[in-house]
Subunit: 350 residues, 2 copies
DNA sequence: GTCAGGGCTGGAAGCGCTTGCAGAAGTTAC
DNA sequence: GTAACTTCTGCAAGCGCTTCCAGCCCTGAC
C-alpha cells in the first residue's frame, strides 16, 4: 500500500505538491505534475478515500434511500442514479430500508447522519417532520423522487393528473364501465402513490358523470401475479363486467390482460386496458400506458444532486436552487390494448 | 456538529475514554460509560465515519459489484445482501458496472482499491487474471456469487447439473422433441451462465440419445418479451414442433408460455415448459422450475463476508476458510406446466 | 540594476477519531 | 502496612491526506 509519501519520495517532490498534482489543482508546473503522475503510476498509488475525505471534507459519495430494490420502478431509478454517479466518479451508498420503520430510523441515525455522504437521494419516501428535520440538519443537499420532502429538491410526476389522463383516454373512447386496479397501500405505509393514482381515476370518472363502483376498484400489490389473481375475481364474478380497466402500474395491467385471456376475453375487443409506468413488458402486450421513464428520473435526480454539490462544474447549466420542484416529462404511449367498447347487446350494430 | 471533544468536555472525561465507552470497549467503568453515553446523547453526537475509519482501519462498508441491477436475479441478490449488511450495521456501496468493460476498469481502479471497503462481493463477474490479481492485492475478503473467482470464497449453484436435471425431467415424462431457450451471450461477454445451462441441456439430450436440433435452441435476452418473440418464431415456423421447452430462466419460460398461447397451444397439454430461477411470476403460470433463491444467495454471501471480517463474532459457527466453495441449496419445484407429451397422431390412443 | 509581482513549492498544521503506553487508583493477600 | 496485581484513565502519537502560508525563484518594467 503505497502512500502519498512514497510517491513524493520517488518523484523527488513534496507531499503537498504531489497531492496538488494528483488532484488536478492549478498551481503545479507541468514538469512536477508529470513527475508525480509517473511516480504514482509506477507505485500503483491510489489515494486513501478516508484520509482525503477527512482532510478535505468532501466524500464523493451520495446516498440513495429506497423502500425496495426489487420492484421494477425502484430498480429502474436505481439504475439511472447509479450510472450517473459512477460516471461522475461518485460512490453510491445504498440504503434499502424496506418498509420496516425501525430500519428506517436506524438508517437515518446511524448511517446518513455520520457525515459520510455529500448528498442524499430519497425515493418515494414520506418522512415525519422530525425525520425531515434530522435530514436537513446535516446541511447536505437532499433530492427527493416522487415523495414529499418539504425543504428539498424534488423530481416528481403529477400522478393524479396522469391517472386522470389515462382514465380520460378510456372515457373518450366511449367506455363507461371502467374498473381500476390500485396498489396496496398497506404494503408500505409511507407509499402514498396508489392512493393518488386512485384519486385521479375517481376524479376523471366523476367529472365524466360516470359511476364509481367500489367493487370495481380492486387492490393488488403492484405485481403481475397479484393483479392477475385480483382481476380474475373481478372478471369472473361480476355479472356485469367492466369494459375497460385502468391499472395503476404496467405490471398490474399485464396481470389484468392475462386474467382476461383466461376468460376468453380479447384485448382490446372485449376489454380495454391502460397501464402506467413504461415497463418493458408493456411492449410485448401492446399495452397503452404512460411512460414515466424512472431511469431518467434517477439520472436527473443524480444530476441535480451533483449540481447542488458542484455548482460551478458542467457547462452553463442554469444552477439548481436548493428548493426546487422539477416535474418530470412523461409520455402517453398508445398501443393496441385500448379500443372503443364492445357493442352492447348488438345496439350499435344497427 | 459536535465532535468527540465536546462530548469529553461535557462528560468531564478524556477523549480517549469517551471513544472507548462509545465503541463498547471493555476497559471502561460503568460510571464513565454512563457519563459518556449521556453526554453524547444530549449533544446528538455521531462519530465521524471517515475519522474513525482512518484511525482504526475498519470501514464497516462492503462493496457489491453487479453487472445489472434491473434484472430479476441481480436485484434479488442485491436485496439479500442489502438486508443482511444493514442489519449488521454495515454500509453497502453499490457498483453497477453494467457490461461496459471500461466502466468495470474504472470501478476496479478508482473505487474498489481505494481502501475504503472492508470486503467485496462480486456477482456473476468473470474477471481477467490481471483483475483478479488487482483485487486480491488489496488483501480484503472477496466473495463471489455465481462467477469464477479463483482465490476467493464463492457461493454457487451447479448450473450445468441443474439444467440437466430440468431437461431430464422432461425426458422422463416421455418427451423427445425438446427445445431450449438460452440467454444471449453477447449481452454480456462475461456472463457465461447461458452457455453453461445450454451445455447441461445438451448433455442431458445426448445422454438420452435424443436429437439436438440447432433450430430448436433459440436465443433470447433473459426477458419475458425477448423469449416471447423468439418462441413465437420457434412455434410458428416449424412444421414439426417441439413438445417441450426448457428455458434458461423463468422469465423466458413465461415468454414461451405466452407465445404458445398465441398459437392456441395449451400448457402443458400441447407443450410442456420448464424454467429455472424461482421467479415470483412462475407461481402465476404454474411453472415447473428450479428455485435457486437468489435472495438467499445474497444473504449468504453477505454473511460469509462478515464472518471473514469478524471471525470471532456470531455464535459457534464454523469459521469460513478464506477460499471456500459453497454450493447453494436449490429446490426443484414441480407445478403444472409439465406433463407427458401429447399423443402422436393418435398412436397412444389405441 | 532594482524592485514588484506572479508562479511554484515545501513546511506544517490540521481533519476527528483510535489505541499503545504508562501511570493513577483501587484490590487483594500477606 | 506493604507488595503485587488488576482496573481504569489520560496523554499523545498517529491514520494519510489537504491546504494555508510563507518563502523561493524568475520575469518584466522601469
Amino acid at each position: 500500500m503505497a502512500g502519498i509519501k512514497d510517491v513524493a519520495d520517488k518523484a523527488g517532490l513534496s507531499v503537498a505538491t504531489v497531492s496538488r498534482a494528483l488532484s488536478g489543482k492549478s498551481n503545479v508546473s507541468a514538469k512536477s505534475r508529470k513527475l508525480a503522475l509517473e511516480a504514482a503510476g509506477e507505485l500503483g498509488f491510489v489515494p486513501s478515500y478516508h484520509a482525503s475525505s477527512l482532510a478535505s471534507g468532501r466524500n464523493h459519495n451520495i446516498g440513495l434511500v429506497v423502500p425496495s430494490v426489487h420492484r421494477w420502478y425502484f430498480s429502474s431509478v436505481l439504475e439511472g442514479v447509479s450510472a450517473t454517479l459512477l460516471d461522475a466518479g461518485y460512490d453510491l451508498t445504498l440504503y434499502n430500508v424496506g418498509d420496516q420503520p425501525e430500519r428506517r430510523q436506524s438508517v437515518l441515525n446511524d448511517f446518513l447522519l455520520r457525515k459520510r455522504l455529500d448528498a442524499v437521494i430519497a425515493v418515494a419516501l414520506v418522512l415525519s417532520d422530525d425525520e425531515i428535520q434530522q435530514l436537513l440538519a446535516v446541511h447536505r443537499p437532499i433530492v427527493g423522487i416522487g415523495g414529499t420532502l418539504p425543504g428539498a429538491s424534488t423530481i416528481r410526476i403529477d400522478d393524479e393528473r396522469l391517472a386522470r389522463m389515462a382514465t380520460d383516454h378510456l372515457i373518450r373512447l366511449g367506455h363507461t364501465r371502467i374498473a381500476h386496479v390500485t396498489g396496496d397501500a398497506a404494503l408500505n405505509q409511507d407509499f402514498k402513490l396508489p392512493g393518488i393514482r386512485q384519486t385521479g381515476y375517481q376524479r376523471a370518472m366523476t367529472a365524466a358523470g360516470l359511476d364509481i363502483r367500489p367493487d370495481w376498484q380492486i387492490t393488488a400489490d403492484f405485481t403481475v401475479q397479484g393483479a392477475y389473481t385480483a382481476a380474475r375475481r373481478l372478471l369472473g364474478t361480476s355479472a356485469e363486467r367492466p369494459t375497460a380497466v385502468f391499472a395503476a402500474s404496467d405490471e398490474m395491467a399485464v396481470g389484468a390482460i392475462l386474467a382476461a385471456r383466461d376468460f376468453g376475453l380479447q384485448v382490446p375487443r372485449d376489454l380495454s386496458v391502460v397501464g402506467m409506468d413504461g415497463h418493458e413488458l408493456g411492449e410485448t402486450f401492446g399495452l397503452t400506458t404512460i411512460d414515466q421513464d424512472p431511469r431518467g428520473q434517477g439520472a436527473l435526480a443524480a444530476r441535480t444532486a451533483l449540481q447542488l454539490l458542484e455548482p460551478k462544474s458542467g457547462s452553463d447549466d442554469v444552477p439548481v436552487p436548493p428548493e426546487t420542484d422539477q416535474e418530470f416529462r412523461t409520455e402517453f404511449v398508445i398501443r393496441t390494448s385500448t379500443a372503443v367498447p364492445p357493442d352492447e347487446s348488438g345496439l350499435r350494430r344497427a
